[in-house]
Symmetry: C2
Subunit: 457 residues, 2 copies
């Protein structure tokens, strides 16, 4: 419970049916806090609190509740009341809600809405998930270019209650083509008699309705925008994506990136897949693909060991087997470090493909330094602590040095190459690099052993 002090008082107000007191309490709170309280109360008290809210408060609180509670609360409402709620909800959220609600219930509710609202819902629910169209909202303000600032402010005041944001307004011509942009700050600072056309910013940063949601969110992040207008192929404005949606999109993309890096395929069904909302079957499905692929790749180690098995006849070699995991493990770790760094640099646009050679050289140099440190440590450690002869410790030390350089090079080349051929570099996971390094690291190890110890068949 996040608000232990408030909950008992609230419970009393609810049980005494103090509707006015409850409404006043709610109006002093952020809707997100009210949503938390509803979740903290017992189900019937929470439902009762939600029940006394006025439609507009209800719409705001609803958007902060978890998806299951949203569905439950709305489906418990009479169709008339649900329609009234949909009418005042922000347009992107009501489209998402309609997508999740029971179809029969939706069929009962929609006829209670005006034609325009039904069309809006139909349009927004029809966009491909993951595109700008599927996350944008249609409750923004547009202005014609020829009206005055005074007229614009009157219009804003009139439209504000039904709009997600009034802080950015978009100027459109008679075909709804986006020709400019004015912030409320600029409106407030301008002369009341100035014409919108004169004060608007003409070069508007915008996104395309069929574009992927991530670049749209990155634009909002890069230019510190409150909202980004979304246009169709003819440059007509069809919606806006707001800064809070951009944050959600980026969080979701980062979740996908860290899961991919750990070797888990992203959930193709759900837009977001919070931990508890994906069942074990879908989790297994998302992991087995990679695990099986890596298993097959890991099998490359078998012929490598087999190829060098003849060396086992030499009396020094069983000792070498003791350190095989140490070696492949260290290579995998160094490779993971590199691939993590490079993937992130690519995702943030800090690393461009034109830098590829520079990046690989840099990572090789890093691997050289790391290898020098670990190789030297390993060399002395294995002789003095593990009591192995100098020959064996020399093989391990030199191999550690070689494997560190090698895995840093692999860890930078592979994501760069993936990016070059158009594969999302984030799918190059830490396990993938470790697996690659396992087999190749052994080749390095045995080859050095053969040379240094002068083994012959």
């Amino acid at each position: 419970m996040r608000n232990p002090l408030l909950v008992p008082d609230l419970r009393e107000l609810i049980q005494d049916g103090e509707v006015l007191a409850l409404r006043e309490f709610v109006s002093d709170q952020h809707p997100g806090k009210v949503a938390e309280l509803i979740e903290d109360l017992e189900d019937h008290d929470g439902d009762a609190l939600f029940g006394v809210l006025e439609p507009r408060d209800r719409a705001e609180v609803l958007s902060y509740l978890d998806l299951d509670s949203q569905n439950r609360l709305v489906e418990a409402m009479p169709p008339q009341a649900a329609a009234e709620l949909l009418r005042v909800m922000s347009h992107d959220e009501r489209a998402a809600l309609v997508n999740r609600l029971d179809e029969d219930f939706v069929d009962e509710v929609l006829p209670n809405l005006a034609q325009a609202e039904r069309d809006d819902i139909r349009r927004l629910t029809s966009y491909e998930p993951g595109t700008a169209g599927a996350v944008m909202t249609t409750d923004y303000v547009t202005l014609p270019p020829h009206i005055t600032v005074r007229e614009a402010l009157d219009r804003l005041r009139h439209e504000a209650p039904d709009r997600e944001t009034i802080y950015y307004t978009y100027v459109v011509d008679h075909t709804r083509r986006l020709i400019g942009f004015v912030s409320l700050k600029r409106l407030i600072l301008a002369r009341r008699s100035a014409v919108i056309e004169e004060i608007m910013q003409q070069d508007v940063i915008s996104g395309r309705v069929d574009e992927d949601q991530e670049p749209v969110a990155r634009q909002i992040e890069k230019y510190d925008l409150l909202a980004l207008p979304i246009v169709d192929a003819d440059d007509r404005i069809v919606g806006i994506v707001t800064h809070d949606d951009a944050m959600d999109i980026l969080r979701q993309e980062q979740t996908e990136d860290i899961l991919k890096f750990g070797g888990v395929s992203p959930d193709p069904e759900a837009d977001t897949a919070p931990y508890w909302q994906s069942n074990v079957v879908s989790v297994v499905r998302r992991r087995i693909k990679w695990l099986m692929l890596l298993f097959l790749a890991e099998n490359l180690t078998t012929p490598v060991v087999q190829h060098f098995q003849w060396t086992m006849e030499d009396e020094q070699v069983p000792a070498l087997f003791l350190f095989m995991s140490l070696l492949t493990g260290t290579g995998g770790n160094a490779g993971s470090q590199t691939v993590g760094t490079v993937i992130r640099g690519l995702a943030l646009g800090e690393i461009k493909l034109s830098h590829a050679l520079h990046v690989v050289a840099r990572e090789w140099l890093t691997g050289f330094c790391l290898g020098l440190a670990l190789g030297t440590t390993g060399f002395f450690y294995i002789h003095y602590w593990r009591g192995q002869p100098w020959g064996v410790s020399g093989v391990v030390g030199l191999s550690l040095f070689g494997v560190c350089m090698w895995s840093n090079v692999i860890g930078s080349i592979v994501p760069l190459a993936a990016s070059r051929v158009g594969i999302d570099p984030a799918v190059v996971s830490a396990p993938f690099i470790s697996t690659l390094v396992d087999a190749t690291g052994m080749v390095i190890y045995f080859s050095i052993a053969i040379m240094l110890l002068g083994l012959t068949r």
Copy 2:
């Protein structure tokens, strides 16, 4: 070059010294776009374009340039002009700039500023990096509770040019204690004669000045805020953190998380360490710590192999060595998948410590399913494809099953335990889990071999 069409025209305007045309061009563009153009032009043309801007445009454009260019451009200005620039910059950005500029230069510039501005810079530069204080800005609007909406709007209009945002205003009493919050939308919708106290929202979500920046940014994300007020120990407002700063903070934290997950310590010096800005020495330092630690942990495999070395005398056992890497590798991969999922769930607050048992059970079940699939595959693969006797393929298949379950359990318990004892679970990297699973996986493998093949000393 990101704007190949504009750059040649611009270059011409600059070389012809068309100051007015350049200023008009700039006023139609987002400052972030102007910054890109300056970076795309040759240095002297870029400097010239920056030079013709008016101070306010200059301040906005500056904040979108990379840090090195910012320092270079400002340090090339006469102290008087630099002071004028600082005067109109947003307060958080000028504090960050002053922190980076050459000290002697700062000593020349500051005397040109009013006492109040100097005090503001001194205060903002004094906060501990990484706290809310170090990222907040002080150019926000406050209102007293007793004035009318009309008076408030006049005040906003008057103060707007110098404020980072006017869309949120904070209501304070005579001691600057934060007592309420009003959005510009609410102000615009209210009766002009209403008193602020009546229309303000009383329960304000706020952060503490000495708090870590991440929870502050998470509040902004969670409640979809444009800005979060920051208060001192006596509840007096001392600054605000804006939504665009919150996005930057979260991006930075996510970068740290993915690097930690790959086994790289975050840069203790830099707030953000873009790929090209950290030199190889600091990169090596940040990676060697973990690599060395993992190297030592990886050494646990050596005594394990040594302990079971006696089994080598059995004729079936050399065959078992062929599949050792396959086994530890698969365990490491399954463990990475789990730890990535659990760390992300913890970071987003989807997994709470009170769910720990449930999480481990769930991951165990996932491991059971994955192990069943891989174990069965391995069993038949090793007999039919690798031509090993049923005994050996039985050992490998059963071990794969055991290792998958085991590494899923380890991959969930370790980050949960870290979180329980107050260690950031994000430091539990994929390499860390792989290393743990390497040594323990071998114990499982050899133990199953001894039992199944009936090996005796």
